[in-house]
């Protein structure tokens, strides 16, 4: 495939809403899954002959399964409040990237086949037949949504485009047109246990290497245990933490926290992945099957608690869905929330004085925090609503003397997606990823100029990978993005007699 050529949008002094530019991103499509990626997930290998019937039947099925989809198809009044909220619209100007227009791609078909108004007066209410052109639009634009839920914050009916994107992708996969990136990864988790397809010996080897590296660095024997039966805590973390920069420094941070707190923990080679791409393709069964490995690992290893590493959508699935999908967790210690986020874990230790920390270690940095969409709008940290905004900032402030927030309308529940979430973190979508990062790059640029910010911390593996790839397009360093637990790890003080 030819190299994709595109222009990175220019950063201005403020974030402006672009003029509507029809079909500006109509060419953007991820690679289609091959039969080998489709079939292990229970989907047909390629486009089925009677795809129209199958698609409509699936749509009817989903409408009956998900109240969200049914209500959202009916409720929209086209008020326009969401039209300037999506980072992909702001970065591309393609009107089909406005949340309401993305929903309408499905809503116009829904109206045609499932409502009286659309059956009788299709033109009047904008209802259309399910044609090949519509399916092409679905494939293109349901893969230009990162399921970040920003639009759902502003919708007077709470319509969450993510729910519609998920349904759209599920219908597409059901007629044989799945997305290669996500489906290939889900297949690897089913088969091997993690997104990278990293088998047990390679994982053991990597962890051993990390132990040596850390001991060399700080002269403390920090362990990275694997498959240790009877450990107190099972840590489930995105597999990017084992390899990728800057993720791995976050993993080192978790290990140092466990070490200093003196709590026994282990990773699992069977469930060596917190990420769950089942949510991205909207498929309940695959999501459940991916999650079930973690329950199984917790049972096999006999742990008392499950802690989840820094990963946005993984945390949404873990926090919001695990109990429903793979619960009940009655075999774990009821004194702790199930699951527990590594930030909650570290925050509790800090609060009880269980960690010795010296923020001067990070005096060379001025840090800001990127709220990840799935943590901000799809889940929570701590015991009170909004804890997802307080706890990570509390951790950063404990480990770092210089912290500054980005503009208020770009953080907390208003945060912008990194541009790579929702199963779009693939090189065949690089143009979309760069353009979608514009709003975040814009607000980052502002605090760089006003406060000399040097680093942006995040608690999501996708955010970290995405930013290290796209920030250079905006003239910022790829190493600006770091893990919150890297800051913690670097600031922990170990006594010499340890």
């Amino acid at each position: 495939m030819a190299k994709i050529e595109f222009e990175t949008p220019a950063l201005k002094d403020w974030l402006s809403t672009p003029k509507v530019q029809p079909d500006a991103m109509a060419h953007s499509k991820p690679f289609v899954a091959k039969p080998v990626h489709q079939e292990p997930l229970g989907f047909p290998g390629e486009l089925v002959d009677n795809w129209q019937d199958v698609a409509l039947e699936k749509m009817g099925d989903l409408l009956g399964r998900y109240r969200s989809l049914q209500v959202f198809m009916d409720s929209c009044v086209k008020c326009g409040a969401c039209t300037d909220k999506c980072h992909y619209y702001l970065g591309t100007g393609d009107p089909k990237n406005m949340p309401v227009a993305r929903q309408d791609l499905m809503r116009k078909v829904y109206r045609r086949y499932f409502t009286l108004a659309g059956k009788w007066f299709p033109k009047l209410v904008g209802a259309v037949e399910l044609t090949e052109e519509v399916i092409n639009d679905w494939y293109s634009y349901y893969h230009q949504c990162s399921e970040c839920r920003r639009c759902s914050v502003y919708c007077p009916y709470g319509i969450d485009t993510a729910e519609i994107t998920m349904a759209g992708r599920e219908i597409l996969a059901t007629i044989g047109v799945g997305q290669k990136y996500s489906n290939e990864i889900i297949g690897k988790v089913h088969k091997i246990g993690n997104n990278l397809g990293l088998p047990e010996p390679a994982l053991a080897d990597t962890l051993e290497g990390l132990e040596e590296e850390v001991e060399e660095d700080i002269n403390v024997p920090v362990k990275f245990p694997l498959d240790q039966k009877g450990a107190d805590v099972l840590l489930v973390t995105p597999s990017a933490d084992f390899f990728a920069e800057p993720h791995v420094d976050g993993l080192i941070g978790y290990a140092k926290v466990f070490h200093q707190a003196g709590i026994s923990w282990t990773l699992s080679s069977y469930a060596s992945e917190a990420a769950n791409f089942g949510i991205f393709i909207g498929n309940y069964e695959n999501m459940q099957k991916v999650a079930e490995r973690i329950r199984q690992a917790a049972l096999d290893l006999g742990v008392k608690r499950i802690v989840v590493g820094e990963c946005g959508h993984a945390w949404r699935v873990a926090y919001s869905f695990w109990n429903t999908l793979i619960g009940p967790f009655d075999f774990l210690d009821p004194a702790y929330p199930v699951p527990q986020h590594i930030c909650e874990f570290t925050n509790d230790l800090l609060a009880s004085g269980g960690l010795k920390i010296d923020p001067e270690a990070n005096d060379d940095k001025v840090v800001t925090f990127h709220d990840s969409c799935n943590v901000s709008r799809g889940s929570r940290l701590g015991s009170t609503p909004g804890g997802q905004f307080v706890i990570p900032r509390n951790l950063i402030r404990s480990a770092c003397n210089h912290f500054v927030d980005m503009a208020p309308d770009t953080i907390h529940e208003h945060t912008f997606c990194c541009g790579g979430g929702g199963g779009l973190l693939t090189d065949d979508l690089i143009e979309l990823r760069v353009k979608g990062a514009l709003p975040r790059a814009q607000s980052l640029q502002q605090v760089i100029e006003s406060h000399g910010v040097t680093h942006m911390a995040a608690i999501c593996a996708i955010c970290k990978s995405q930013f290290s790839k796209v920030l250079p397009h905006y003239g910022m360093g790829m190493d600006m993005i770091i893990s919150v637990h890297q800051l913690i790890g670097d600031a922990l003080v170990f006594d010499s007699d340890h």
Partner: protein, 219 residues
């Protein structure tokens, strides 16, 4: 009702979300009465939308005087407000339509029915205000007619042009209500991102269809 029958198989409130039922009721109240999310989303749409909806509500309450005898005392008390409410309703609708016509993004998402709906509502508000400020109609006969409807006792309707228009538009609106996007009114109460509690770690939320799925685990 189809909304109530369809399960919500996963916990999906838009967070931060309340953790108690009382909290959810408060969130819903703010949503329905103050249009909280719309206020976050677009100040102009919020202003026009709120003017329209609450203008219409008060104007409708004012109309109760045609259907009750003796007229309830609170209806008498709000008569003066009802007139201003009619004007607010008209202005709100006009503002919403202007946005639909002038903002390129909103023009793009508008179907013919979206314009027609606004036209219809504007015509209702406009013809009503015209009767108040322009061509008065015989409201004593109107009331006799309205009471006749309530009591199943048919009375003649004054054959006033404006009045006939006003009532015909209302009739059309009532006819299309169940088939159109006006159905957003009940929809908001069933929206899972607004009506669910943020307690997924405490409570399982398994839909009947999900309960029937095979689990690959130890059970």
């Amino acid at each position: 009702m189809r909304y109530a029958r369809t399960p919500a198989p996963l916990v999906i409130p838009t967070t931060p979300a309340p953790t108690t039922r009382t909290g959810v009721c408060a969130r819903m109240f703010r949503e329905v009465v103050f249009f909280e999310s719309l206020f976050k989303g677009s100040k102009w749409s919020w202003l026009f939308g709120w003017l329209f909806h609450f203008g219409m509500l008060v104007a409708l309450m004012r109309h109760l005087r045609y259907f009750t005898e003796p007229v309830w005392s609170w209806v008498i008390l709000i008569q003066w407000a009802g007139v201003y409410a009619g004007i607010a309703m008209f202005l709100g609708l006009a503002g919403l339509w202007l946005r639909r016509l002038l903002v390129d993004r909103i023009r793009y998402i508008s179907a013919p029915s979206d314009h027609l709906m606004l036209a219809l509502l504007l015509a209702i508000a406009g013809s009503g205000l015209a009767m108040k400020y322009g061509e008065h109609t015989d409201i004593v006969s109107v009331k006799a007619f309205a009471l006749g409807l309530v009591r199943f006792d048919w009375q003649p309707l004054p054959s006033d042009g404006l009045l006939i228009l006003h009532l015909s538009f209302v009739l059309v609106l009532m006819l299309i209500f169940p088939f159109s996007k006006l159905l957003h009114a009940p929809g908001v109460f069933f929206s899972p991102t607004r009506n669910m509690r943020d307690t997924p770690r405490e409570h399982r939320h398994v839909a009947p269809w999900a309960n029937d799925l095979p689990r690959s685990g130890s059970e």
